[in-house]
């Protein structure tokens, strides 16, 4: 078979697979989306647009906010805060989780606090944060840190403590030092747990960002949501909601991408073993 033939065959196979995917995986949900959007649009004919607006006016509003730059400015403010807060939260969570998993004394001392904070609905700390650091970016950052740290901490701890005995045996049999055991065995073995924690924390970071923008000081996407809500600009409100949803979907996709790119073995492990 010539190279060209192989290429052609691959192309047809790919086309067939894509078509199959469209028919079975993409089409049914897409149809439902179209039905729902259609119904929503039609409802605009007999319902007050103040209540639910319509898809077309949401898109128009989004376009105008986008050209005016209003939405971008808000997004940038929110993203910055979310990114910094999340980064601090993740680093602190992973480090504390590792320390707790590694040294029983650290775990014994810290676990009551971890359980306490993890069980507390952390929104209640906002007034306190404002008293401490004022109505400021720092207060909002602190809230994002506070809300994102626990899932990743607890997952890291669980991951380090649940390293398969087989891997530990390998490390011991081949004479790894305590430090090498942590670096070469425990931490990499805990990565699937840590990433699961990261996924939860990323989701919480968005929530934390919006809440703190509403509750602490009026900036970013949270401010837009409140002000459009208060002034009954339903179309614009929906547009902002749409932006935050897309933000959530994108963040989750980024975590998945990181996992696929740098930790491919995780997927292969669950596929091949057990």
């Amino acid at each position: 078979m010539s190279v060209a033939e192989v290429g052609r065959r691959r192309a047809t196979e790919w086309a067939a697979r894509s078509l199959q995917w469209l028919r079975t995986t993409a089409l049914p949900p897409l149809l439902l989306v179209i039905v729902i959007l259609g119904a929503w649009q039609a409802s605009g004919l007999f319902l007050d647009p103040l209540l639910i607006s319509t898809p077309t006016s949401v898109l128009t509003e989004l376009a105008s906010m986008s050209t005016q730059g209003q939405i971008w400015l808000a997004l940038l403010t929110s993203l910055e805060e979310m990114f910094i807060g999340l980064s601090i939260g993740l680093v602190c969570g992973i480090v504390l989780g590792l320390l707790m998993g590694r040294y029983w004394i650290v775990e014994t001392i810290l676990s009551p606090y971890v359980n306490f904070f993890n069980a507390t609905p952390l929104v209640v700390t906002i007034p306190l944060l404002v008293i401490w650091v004022g109505i400021s970016t720092q207060a909002r950052l602190l809230f994002v840190v506070l809300i994102t740290i626990w899932p990743v901490l607890l997952n890291t701890l669980a991951g380090v403590k649940n390293v398969s005995q087989g891997y530990i045996d390998v490390g011991r049999a081949f004479g790894l030092s305590e430090a090498q055991m942590l670096r070469e065995i425990s931490i990499p073995a805990a990565v699937p747990y840590i990433l699961a924690g990261v996924r939860v924390s990323v989701g919480l970071a968005i929530i934390g960002m919006i809440i703190s923008e509403i509750e602490v000081s009026m900036v970013g996407l949270g401010f837009l949501l409140t002000s459009f809500g208060n002034s009954f600009q339903t179309g614009k409100l929906f547009a902002v909601i749409l932006v935050t949803s897309v933000l959530g979907v994108l963040s989750a996709a980024i975590v998945r991408l990181v996992e696929k790119r740098w930790f491919r073995w995780i997927g292969e492990l669950s596929a091949s073993q057990r």
């Binding site: 891997y167 045996d169 390998v170 049999a173 004479g175 790894l176 073995a189 930790f263 073995w265 292969e268």
Partner: protein, 255 residues
């Protein structure tokens, strides 16, 4: 010489004590291929782990070249039944583990790991992730990982137990070849009578309840055994019968 002196191991559960090994004494000669053969639950894997220092004996001592062993020994290397390759590392990085534990610098580590992979014929997949390898290839990496540290004693714990028959017989020949070539001491745990007869100079037979060594028999079959049909050898057949009788395999079947 590797000496196992009156080793016992008791596992304690909440309300009962299990005697996994009772008073095992055994000397393994330098360069010898010795198998520990017995049914599951006879303590043979426990004994192997005690020899390596992975499990602590309740009583008794392991003495190697006149020195009593404490903890995991650097003269020995272990091949696990479950292989346990680290999935986040490439094949060659897996083989480097023992060299890292011995503080070998990076360039020398890579070179020695590649040499070990060459011994098992896998240098071409050095950079592949382990999950792309078949079970038989993965266990060859497990063997290479052990050989890379240049051990005086190779401890193999039912290394081919999870593999299919064809792969298993291939790897048995490969291990026999490696042993003839490298002339190291091997302690090999198995529950497969034919595997033990094909590979060993001597076979220690183990029985259960409590786990104990019942007999030590020498295998006087011409080597190399892959060059002729050893299983048709009258001596092979006789020894197989002796082992089956001693382990009461037939009696168990009649129950």
């Amino acid at each position: 010489m590797l000496e196992i002196l009156e080793v016992s191991k008791t596992f304690e559960a909440r309300d009962r004590r299990v005697m996994a090994l009772q008073d095992v004494s055994l000397s393994v000669r330098d360069g010898e291929f010795l198998s520990l053969l017995g049914p599951s639950g006879c303590g043979k894997t426990t004994l192997l782990r005690i020899i390596d220092g992975l499990t602590e004996a309740t009583s008794g001592r392991i003495v190697f070249d006149g020195i009593e062993l404490q903890g995991v020994s650097r003269d020995m290397a272990f091949v696990f039944q479950d292989i346990n390759l680290l999935p986040w590392r490439s094949v060659v990085e897996n083989v480097e583990v023992g060299l890292e534990g011995r503080g070998v610098p990076r360039p020398a580590r890579r070179r020695r790991a590649l040499e070990a992979l060459e011994l098992v014929g896998l240098e071409s997949v050095a950079n592949a992730p382990p999950y792309t390898l078949s079970g038989g290839m993965q266990q060859r990496v497990g063997v290479a990982r052990a050989l890379a540290v240049d051990p005086k004693v190779l401890l193999m714990d039912e290394p081919f137990g999870h593999l299919d028959n064809f792969t298993r017989e291939n790897l048995q020949v490969e291990v026999a070849r490696l042993w003839e070539r490298l002339k190291m001491t091997v302690v090999f745990v198995t529950h497969d009578v034919d595997e033990a007869l094909f590979l060993s100079d001597r076979i220690a037979l183990f029985r259960t309840n409590p786990g104990r060594m019942s007999q030590l028999i020498a295998v006087n079959l011409k080597r190399p055994r892959w060059e002729y049909n050893v299983r048709a050898d009258p001596e092979y057949i006789r020894m197989r019968e002796v082992i089956m009788d001693e382990l009461e395999v037939r009696k168990l079947q009649m129950v």
